[in-house]
Amino acid sequence: MSSLEHGTLERYELLASAVAGRAMRVAAAGPSEPAWTDGVSIFVDPALAPAERLCRLVLQAALLGSGSLDPPAPDRLARSTKVTQRYLALEGHRALAALEPLLPTAARELIDRNTAARSDSAAHSLMIASSREPLGDPPGAFGTIRPRQLRREGERRGAQEAAAPHHPRSEARGLLKELDDDQDDPRPGADLVSSPVGGAGAIGRLLKRLFRDQRTSTGGLPGADSPSHWGRAGARAARFGVSTAALPSALPAGEAVRSRGATYPEWDVQRRRYRADWCTVTEVEPKTADAVALVPSGVHALRRPLARLGTAVQLRDRQLQGTDIDIDAAVEAHVETLAGSPPGEAVYLDLVRCRRDLAVLLLLDVSGSAGEPSPTGGTVHDHQRAAAAALATALYDLGDRVALFTFRSQGRSAVQLTPVKRFDDPLDALVMRRLAGCEPGAYTRLGAAIRHGATVLTRDSGTSRRVLLVLSDGFAYDHGYEGAYGEADARRALSEARRLGTGCVCLSVGAATDAAALRRVFGTAAHAGVARPEQLPVVLAPLLRFALAAAEAQQRQAQHTTRTKERLEMDSRRSA
């Protein structure tokens, strides 16, 4: 399938989604193959004339939209091709008629009202199709129904749902012992004024745009789970699968170990407690690679959303100069003049940009899984590295403090972070050369890397607002760090960082990980998956804003707690 053809069919996805009432993909069927659907995609022959293609597409979407292909129909139809044909001949008309107000003109002309009137539901149609009542053949534009593919796709989706069960909040509460209440809370930013992850919140809307969720057959409640258009890449990527095979390379030898290493605990989800001093993290000095310096691209597009970030414009009254007259101040000044006292001169309103003090530490995943081919071309590593370069440059240009570390691991005693750029290093060609020299290899002990990143950030940044930005395919895997264990530890590490007032943003660029998997690893931290680095500007600002707001709220809460404690102590001292 050429990219041109694909682009043409892709254009129909909105239309198909509108008729089906859920997110649909459109893909090419074989030459002169009748149109069909597996419940996720509709397959049509791209060689057909546009009008014919449209009718076939709409018919298949209408079958999905009016519930004709919901269980138990596929099971029943799988038994007999003849019944399937009869069912299509009848149900096709009924489905079109049921959705008639929504259909394009061309598709409405397909409806045979006499046939449509014979059935009033999918179940009814199924009954008639299985009976001996005479029924004509379905017109060619109806394509065909493939009950087995429908069933298989339905089972696949069912399995995915089962694999990522939602943990009720109360349950999580009862199980957590060593951290305070809001750790691992399924609602991000529970301390904000309103939950931003509902369908109505900014993050919810954003996630909606980003992720196509697998659990969309109900098409019902809006929210982070809702299907979307943007995430198609994610769904397509599912075909590539997530490989558990990291490249079998050992950690590159010859790298000078800079420090003896720091130890960090790890969260054991099975036993519900920490393993103290479990992981050893060493900082490995980067090789001064002879690679050609990476040229960051897309920096300009990133700069705009980032520039607006956190520098909220505030209208300040009583300024010495400004864009508008502060009428209240002016009146007062005048009254003072009349009363004989010297008037105040600060009679203007001005829009003041509050300069942020923001530090961002980028953590780039250079484990073997990043060497996997990306569904959007190249390797995941290429995409993530390009994103890291662009982000670091854009933030640096804006005057923020930026550091860039890469991470990989080989078991718990060898978690290595490489400072490509420390906070105090200038961002120059050397940094870009080091970045270009990064090769993916070994494994991903995400939790330890996040803990170390957060520690460096708190220690070296020197700013009050901090963001830890993790660029990873969201695939946590190391020796003794598989599946749910690794995911739980990564989530835990992120909530620890947040508790210290560090905002966490996790980005997956061009990776084959689906939305549910990202959610399992990154939990309540602001996270998103995009197909290509060019899409970053769209998602980044809301994510960062949310992360900062959540961290600030945490900080305020912490300060408040401290103040209350001090006051109580003082009171008790006074009364004593």
């Binding site: 682009g7 892709e10 254009r11 129909y12 996805e13 909105l14 239309l15 989604s17 509108a18 008729v19 009432g21 859920r22 997110a23 449209l54 709409v58 107000p101 929504l102 259909l103 394009p104 003109t105 061309a106 598709a107 904000l192 004024v193 309103s194 931003p196 369908g199 109505a200 919140g201 900014a202 993050i203 809307r205 909606k208 745009r209 969309t216 098409g219 809006p222 809702s226 299907p227 979307s228 258009h229 943007w230 209208l315 009428i327 209240d328 002016a330 009146v331 005048h334 009254v335 009349l338 769209v538 804003r545 949310f546 707001a549």
Partner: protein, 268 residues
């Protein structure tokens, strides 16, 4: 004030009854609904029916209490008090409509509290006076729940003083009538536009942040009444404002082509 013809509004449910009942009972009204579904037009029609003047305030971040209540200005070397829109409505017994109330800061909307309970009073600190609301005064606020930023929401104490009317895009037959009337296009064109709008609204969960409102359908209709082909009008007025994303735009164009059917010769 209330002269001329009634603003065109076709009720989709019992909203007119609720509004009028609440008005007679001196209750404040909270209108919820997506942008462009007819909230403002509804209030204009109600103000006309009830024979009350309408004072509209578009709320924004920097709206201060003084902007609503009033302030001292200078006149001939002396200060003179000038009423704000809220005070004017209280004195005249007008309907005061605060559009997009959550855009205003919460400390600003607190000024509504004594006006929206049994007291119906407006205390004006700077004058040291408290105004009793004239008969016929009514506070109406509008609010778009799906649209506001993360940190903004109505205070519960504000919210609970209101009677809520939920509005949504009108049903198909009414929307056709509205589009035909407002845009001055024939029924066939209106029906095609509405069908397109209905289809786009089904995409709300599938990637579009905002869907085609009645307002954009009317805009497309108005372009048609100026002689534009339906397809070109829909592209300009419906697809363009909804998204900047090239992939989504291409998808919307494809939908528009499918729904505006039979004039393939029309300039794209």
């Amino acid at each position: 004030m209330t002269s001329g013809v009634r603003p065109y509004y076709v009720p989709g449910g019992n909203e007119e009854l609720v509004f009028k009942a609440a008005f007679r009972q001196h209750l404040a009204i909270l209108l919820k609904g997506p942008t462009g579904c007819g909230k403002t037009r509804f209030i204009e029609a109600m103000a006309y029916d009830l024979g009350r003047p309408l004072v509209t305030v578009a709320c924004h971040d920097d709206l201060t209490t003084a902007d609503l209540v009033g302030r001292f200005l200078l006149r001939d070397g002396e200060t003179a008090w000038v009423d704000g829109p809220l005070t004017r409505a209280v004195r005249d017994g007008a309907i005061c409509y605060l559009d997009e109330i959550v855009e205003a800061r919460q400390d600003t909307t607190v000024v509504l509290h004594p006006l929206t309970d049994h007291r119906r009073q407006l205390p004006i600190d700077r004058l040291g006076r408290t105004l009793d609301a004239a008969p016929g005064f009514c506070v109406v606020v509008s609010y778009n729940p799906g649209y506001q930023s993360v940190l903004k929401d109505l205070k519960d104490s504000t919210r609970q003083r209101m009677v809520a009317i939920e509005m949504d895009f009108p049903p198909v037959d009414i929307e056709e009538k509205v589009v035909a009337h407002e845009a001055g296009v024939d029924h066939e064109t209106a029906a095609e536009l509405v069908r397109l709008g209905q289809a786009i609204r089904r995409l709300e969960n599938a990637g579009l942040r905002e869907v085609a409102s009645t307002r954009v359908l009317i805009a497309a209709g108005r372009l048609v009444s100026e002689g534009l082909a339906l397809r070109a009008a829909a592209r300009a007025a419906v697809a363009g404002p909804l998204t900047d994303d090239p992939i989504v735009t291409a998808g919307l164009f494809e939908m528009i082509d499918a729904y505006t059917g039979d004039d393939p010769a029309a300039p794209a």
